[in-house]
């Protein structure tokens, strides 16, 4: 059933209770991956490649093994050789064989930081010392870092067996281009003839890291009976279980994964790095093994998102209607195929109602860490380019950028270029709210001498997904309720799960405790990603709570000796449905719980579903900047994020997603980038030189929640976590353009780049 409609009075959903895991997170007692300790535990460190591209001629581990306190050393030879097979869990396209080769190199290292061996010892210090004694002989090969280099004729080829997919005829020569994708509606090429104004420009973005503050960490215990336990922080305990089973050649049932608290992920913890190595080391040493990455290892050895080169061409009539649009997106995949080029192309024009549109792209490997998902993977990259071009088009037409978007906005029944017909979307509402907002109407104020102010807007889209999810509701003997979710809680989902259950059961949310189940205590759930948890797992939890509620009505009927249909659930208690049902005092949840032994035993329900019908998310952001003409520094003065959230279950955590996503986007826009030296080494693997936004860089991030409910979710929820990172880069760039008249097509718009662009504009 659903709880939409004007006559439904919600008592819990839409309020802002304190999250169930809150207190232990403010008093330091919450247990993250690196906080785990088990009996007999030893510590392991990874040996990483100093080269961007090299053949491994030999590895000599004897000196490391001879160090007192060393318990085991592994190399690629200690993991089974597995065939190429598409991964059946995880986010984005992945291949088990490539995953195994990314976790530990076999015959070649493919990037600076690629793991080649691992050493386990009694202490972390001994493991680190012994790791330095592992002798690897390399034959250094020529490397490629940028996509342009990687795609050039005669470029060093990373994988001799890789032939571009999606092109006809099939190539006969191996290259670094893994695949080509294309999405098309109508005939964009011909339609440009109808345009009065055309904007055509190339844009580039740099790879940026998710930069979660908690480095990857795990403890793994492999027992002599072949059973293993893994404690780790990840975005999916079931993902870790499946990947480890596959990479080590084990049964899924032989691995139990305990999801620890996760210190941020943003997509970067949707795959494994350390767990398979720790498993192999535990098996070899016979001891539980703990592994924790350093920050440098996180930057060098785990996946950022792609950098890209994007060519956009958009044409419009003089009355402001876009008539043709094209976008080519070339994305860096890192060392193995699997950049988010598909979603980048699919999302590029999803904000607009277009008849003639083409988006195509290439997935290109180069000697960088294999990319991982990062919040709305691919969309921020193509959207930065498209939303910059849309802004430039509005400038050329002399139109207000929000009004220009309103003329062209996708609406219900718009056929999107990537396939589906859009339903129950709230994009127009975000634009109308933008135009009506106090921020948009406000005066920018006078800039101090030597500085210029401007305002920009940009929009963004993300699909949001559903998928396989499990949840359970247990009524406890004292009338409290335990809810179990199958998904790691990355930003407050335990609160929203408990709230939905409390709403269904008609009880105060303080009586519901939500925990995240391990792989042996809750049904399978696809990982926490795709903005799916509140939607899909929320649906599973809601259905399990409904089953419990219906069961309690049956129990009341038994006690009253009437038909179950004659009982209704109201305000946390069973009531006779009407006059004819008989006269009985209501039986509360606690009353029924206390008598459960006499009415059939414990009251609980589990629900496993494949949730369909996730509603896409749209957002429009407004950004005011002040550009310092002397230093090139760009300060964000004011920022507003407006988003269609479907229905905010816990509005504070929805706002938090919007604010956090916007700020990550501001970092992407202004500062963050991977910097490689001429040898293919990463020059800035630390927070000092890879600069994420800090508190003093930012204003308050204002939010406006638009609620266009998704009728396919019981409470109308849509995913909210990813779309907030889609608009910011273009919003900042458009604000800079309005402030200075200078268009910044290359990210990051850091002070040296900004200053150079201002100087070039002066001539």
């Amino acid at each position: 059933m659903n709880y939409l409609g004007k006559d439904v009075e919600l008592k819990v959903v839409g309020t802002r209770p304190i999250r169930p895991d809150g207190v232990e997170k403010v008093n330091g007692r919450a247990s993250f991956g690196a906080d785990v300790a088990v009996s007999g535990m030893i510590h392991a460190k990874v040996v990483r490649s100093p080269h961007a591209h090299a053949r491994i001629k030999s590895i000599d581990t004897s000196k490391a093994e001879a160090v007192k306190g060393v318990q085991a050393v592994i190399t690629g030879a200690d993991l089974p050789d597995i065939p190429s097979e598409e991964a059946f869990v995880g986010e984005g396209p992945a291949n088990f064989r490539e995953m195994s080769h990314n976790v530990i190199a076999r015959d070649k290292v493919l990037y600076d930081g690629h793991a080649v061996a691992a050493v386990a010892a009694n202490t972390a210090a001994i493991a680190e010392e012994a790791a330095r004694l592992v002798e690897v002989e390399y034959e250094v090969l020529p490397h490629v870092i940028s996509v342009e280099e990687a795609m050039a004729d005669g470029a060093p080829v990373l994988h001799e067996d890789m032939f571009t997919q999606g092109v006809d005829p099939k190539p006969t020569k191996a290259s670094n281009i893994a695949k080509r994708v294309e999405f098309k509606l109508g005939d964009s090429n011909a339609a440009f003839a109808k345009a009065d104004v055309i904007v055509e420009r190339q844009y580039t973005t740099q790879p940026v890291h998710q930069a979660y503050i908690e480095p990857h960490a795990c403890v793994v215990s492999y027992n002599p009976d072949g059973q293993a336990q893994i404690w780790c922080s990840s975005q999916g305990q079931f993902m870790v279980r499946a990947f480890c089973a596959k990479l080590l050649g084990m049964d899924i049932a032989s691995i139990r994964v305990m999801p620890m608290e996760i210190g941020g992920g943003f997509g970067g913890k949707t795959l494994v790095y350390l767990e398979p190595l720790a498993l192999a080391l535990s098996k070899k040493s016979g001891r539980p093994v703990k592994m924790v990455m350093s920050r440098e290892e996180v930057f060098r050895g785990s996946g950022p998102t792609s950098g890209g080169t994007i060519n956009v061409k958009i044409g419009a009539t003089k009355n402001g209607r876009i008539v043709a649009a094209e976008c080519e997106t070339i994305l860096q995949a890192g060392a193995f195929p699997g950049s988010p080029v598909g979603p980048a192309c699919m999302t590029a024009f999803a904000c607009y109602d277009l008849a003639d549109v083409t988006a195509f792209g290439y997935d290109v490997v180069s000697n960088r860490p294999k990319v991982a998902a990062y919040r709305a993977p691919g969309a921020p990259i193509s959207t930065f380019a498209v939303e910059s071009a849309v802004d430039e088009l509005a400038q050329k037409l002399g139109m207000d950028p929000a009004e220009f978007r309103l003329i062209n906005a996708a609406k219900n029944e718009t056929k999107a270029a990537y396939g589906p017909t859009l339903k129950d979307i709230g994009y127009v509402e975000t634009l109308e709210a933008t135009v009506a907002s106090e921020h948009y109407k406000s005066d920018l104020g006078e800039a101090p001498k030597g500085k210029r102010r401007g305002r920009g807007v940009a929009s963004g889209f993300w699909f949001n997904i559903g998928g396989e999810s499990s949840g359970a509701t247990y009524v406890n003997e004292d009338g409290t309720v335990s809810v179990v979710s199958g998904n790691p809680d990355i930003g407050g989902s335990r609160a929203s799960m408990g709230m939905m259950a409390a709403e269904v059961l008609g009880i105060d949310v303080s009586r519901v405790r939500t925990t995240v189940g391990d792989t042996a205590s809750v049904g399978y759930s696809f990982l926490t990603g795709g903005s799916r948890v509140t939607f899909a797992t929320g649906m599973a939890v809601t259905q399990s709570a409904e089953e419990v509620r219906d069961d309690m009505c049956r129990r009341a009927a038994l006690i009253w000796e009437i038909d179950a249909e004659a009982v209704e659930w109201r305000d946390g208690a069973a009531h006779p449905a009407g006059e004819n049902a008989g006269k009985f005092d209501p039986l509360s949840l606690s009353d029924i719980a206390a008598k459960s032994g006499r009415t059939g035993g414990p009251i609980s329900a589990k629900c496993s579903i494949n949730a369909q019908g996730a509603g896409p998310g749209y957002a429009t952001h407004i950004c005011d900047v002040e550009v310092d003409e002397e230093t090139g520094h760009v300060a964000v003065l004011r920022y507003t994020a407006i988003q269609d959230v479907g229905k905010a279950i816990h509005p504070a955590y929805v706002e938090g997603q919007m604010q956090g996503g916007a700020v990550q986007g501001i970092g992407w826009a202004l500062n963050e980038e991977y910097i490689y030296n001429k040898d293919g080494g990463l020059d800035n693997p630390g927070f000092l030189d890879y600069r994420v936004p800090v508190a003093s860089d930012l204003p308050m991030i204002e939010t406006q929640l638009i609620e266009v409910p998704n009728p396919r979710h019981p409470f109308g929820a849509k995913g909210v976590g990813e779309v907030p990172i889609v608009p910011p880069m273009a919003a900042v760039a458009n604000a800079i353009s309005s402030a200075t008249g200078v268009r910044m097509p290359n990210l990051p718009m850091s002070p040296p780049r900004m200053r150079a662009a201002l100087d070039a504009a002066k001539g």
Binding site: G28, A34, D35, Q210, E214, E655, Q659, G660, A695, S696
Partner: protein
């Protein structure tokens, strides 16, 4: 090398431990004393997740040797609440939803306490600059700043 015997005071109680000369205070807290509330996000003093107070001064415990704790008074996140009573900052962080993943939270709270100890009436700008050494990747800092300003007001009795 022989371990160093260190006598100190942690969260109001006498404490002693043995540590290697090169062991950081963060590693001592986490590995020797089982005080895992202080987190390692970078190990280089850039993220602030390991923030503690040493004689009232805000310090990244990853940049301090364990041996340096001798004769000092240390406060970690575990010592912030008064028994069952949360510090006003802790309470306001919960009420304002000023945490998402919670990993940076201990460090942010310790740094915020140091701020309010030094300046009970900070401006928003002062709070933002004081907390510039504490990275948070989840929240965008908005609700953290709100919570700190609200806690400051409450502690001033407003």
């Amino acid at each position: 090398m022989a371990k160093i015997h260190v006598t100190t005071k942690i969260n109001g109680e006498d404490a002693e431990f043995l540590c290697e000369p090169q062991q950081t205070m963060l590693d001592v807290l986490r590995d020797e004393l089982s005080l895992t509330g202080s987190k390692e996000g970078c190990g280089s003093g850039d993220c602030g997740a390991c923030s503690i107070l040493v004689d009232g001064r805000l310090v990244c415990s990853c940049l301090m040797f364990g041996a340096e704790a001798a004769g000092t008074e240390i406060m970690t996140i575990e010592g912030m609440s008064d028994g069952d009573t949360l510090h006003p900052l802790q309470q306001k962080f919960l009420e304002h939803a000023a945490l998402q993943c919670g990993f940076c939270t201990p460090g942010v709270l310790v740094a915020s306490k140091a701020l309010l100890d030094a300046n009970p009436n900070p401006t928003e700008e002062q709070a933002r600059y004081w907390l510039a050494g504490n990275l948070c990747r989840c929240t965008g800092y908005d609700k953290i700043i709100e919570a700190v300003m609200d806690a400051a007001a409450e502690m001033r009795g407003e």
